[in-house]
Amino acid sequence: MFAVFRDLVRYNIEFAIGVTLVGFILIFAAASYFAPTDPNLIYVVIPDQPPSAQYWFGTNSRGQDLFWQLSTAFRNSVIFGVTVAVLSRIISLAVGLTSGYVGGWVDRGLMLVNDIFVAVPIFPVLVLFYFVLRSDLNSWTLALIMACFGWPFDARLIRSVALGLRHREFTRHAVFAGMSTPKILLQEHLPYVMPIVFSTFMANMLWSIGLEVTLAVLGFTNINQATIGTVLYWANSHSAMVVGVWWWILIPVIFIVILFVGLFLLAVSLNEYIDPRSRLRRMGA
């Protein structure tokens, strides 16, 4: 594991940059555990102060210190993204491995469901859930709903690998030795698809955090919980740009771009690492 990491940092500049950017955001988000006040409280500091030595990122019109506010927001959003990614990875592994190994009508049925999920536009569906659940839609429910839509692409990828594993000798060996199907999938096939799981993990986080930002900006989530999107929502609802509180918009946007570019670079470089052809080319072999 460590050797893989070392190789990636050494031979893949994108991975190195990605790790740096995401690491920076993670440290920033972890800082929120040392916040001096509860970040959900409003009017605790003087509103609308520009960035200074006392308030590094300034304060917003709701009287919150933007540094701690943003730090908490990134922590919540990253946790949200990880939750969606873990849940949807579990679904895509279950569907992909089963469908690839079992084959036949199980495969056809699961892939039909897969195609349906790919074709449904997720955003209107999420808005629909907000519309009917309103205040009952907390971030866990939202994560669960998004996880239910975040698996189909990756399930297909996993299935294509599992299809190849099915006829390998070790699988037949395991079957003849009397291993049960769930055991074969978990102990024999799972290790082969783990690289895909890791690289799609990042891509899935990008997707879910991006959707959360979109929903929150419209006010379609729990707006009292600090997330990346709700920081922007409040900035917009106080017309931050018009009244000249530019740091309330600019600083979050810069941090969002750092997080997204970082995650994207990680996803791309891991994806490339999986493909041995491009890995060798990069190492100069």
């Binding site: 449904v120 009917v132 990008l206 979109t214 946007v253 771009v257």
Partner: protein, 334 residues
Amino acid sequence: MQGYFWFAAKRAAQLFAVVFCGISATFMVTHLSPISPVESALGRMTARSNFAPEAVESMRAALTEMYGVNEPLINQYFNFWARLVHGDLGPSLIAFPTPAMELVMRALPWTVCLLLTSILITFVVGNVMGALAGYNQNNRFLKAFGVVAMGIQPIPYYIVAFILLVVFGFIWPVLPISGGFAMNVTPGWNLAYIGSVLQHAILPASSLVLVGFGSWFLGMRALVSNIVTEDYVTYAELAGVKRRTIVGSYVIRNAAVPQLTALAMTLGGVFSGTVITEQVFNYPGLGSLLVDAVNGGDFSLVLAVSTVSVAAVATAIFIVDLLHPLLDPRVRTD
């Protein structure tokens, strides 16, 4: 030809399955929720007024009849389909008594045109530039281009749209930032109107293009850089085939097949991006309508927009799938 027919028939069956399941799910989500549309509409209407209790009671009765929620769920479901076949989803609340479907149909052309333009531009330009970048891997300009594409591509639609809005609305106000056309022109086939529509479409379309462009460029570059090492490309080069022919007819055509599949798979996501972009630029499409409907608590309109968007996206995917065999003759014989 028969192969193509079977291929198309299979895809059409899939289209119907997707539309049926998607719309049924939409129905279930809205009707199984614990919140009654009647009570929420009533709460909204009586919130800032002084109605007599009898008036509220008769409003409740009228709304219950309008939404048809007093019947068992299964009957409601069949009624829903029976009405949907005729394109009727009840009157909208925020523009009472205009039918919800009429509002959707008014908004649909805006969204379709915006999407079509931006997808065409991103897909064609992104893939051609990506192919060139994959084929000429040492070109400085294309390399720099790749870095820019990598930097912009992961940013959420909202952020890009918002940055454009700030730059062209506040810092350098040269382009209209709100609406579908200027207030002082009459809609119709006249030059002023068309010019105004195009001008208003620039910012929403460019924000969609900026985000969408990168993934095609990067995807195509990766595909092509694998294809150029194939024997047939080396063979064509040795045989003295013109570089333009190699890139255009051999490399791009082979690499375009997985890209077309990817196009079908990303259409839903692009649609989601359009919703938020329209909202940012106040563009009169489906996205703005959906947000207005949710904010106005308009049950029928939300249902109508969701239904139409599920059907529209599925149909678009179907059309892209039908194009597949034109690029890749092997699909037909499957």
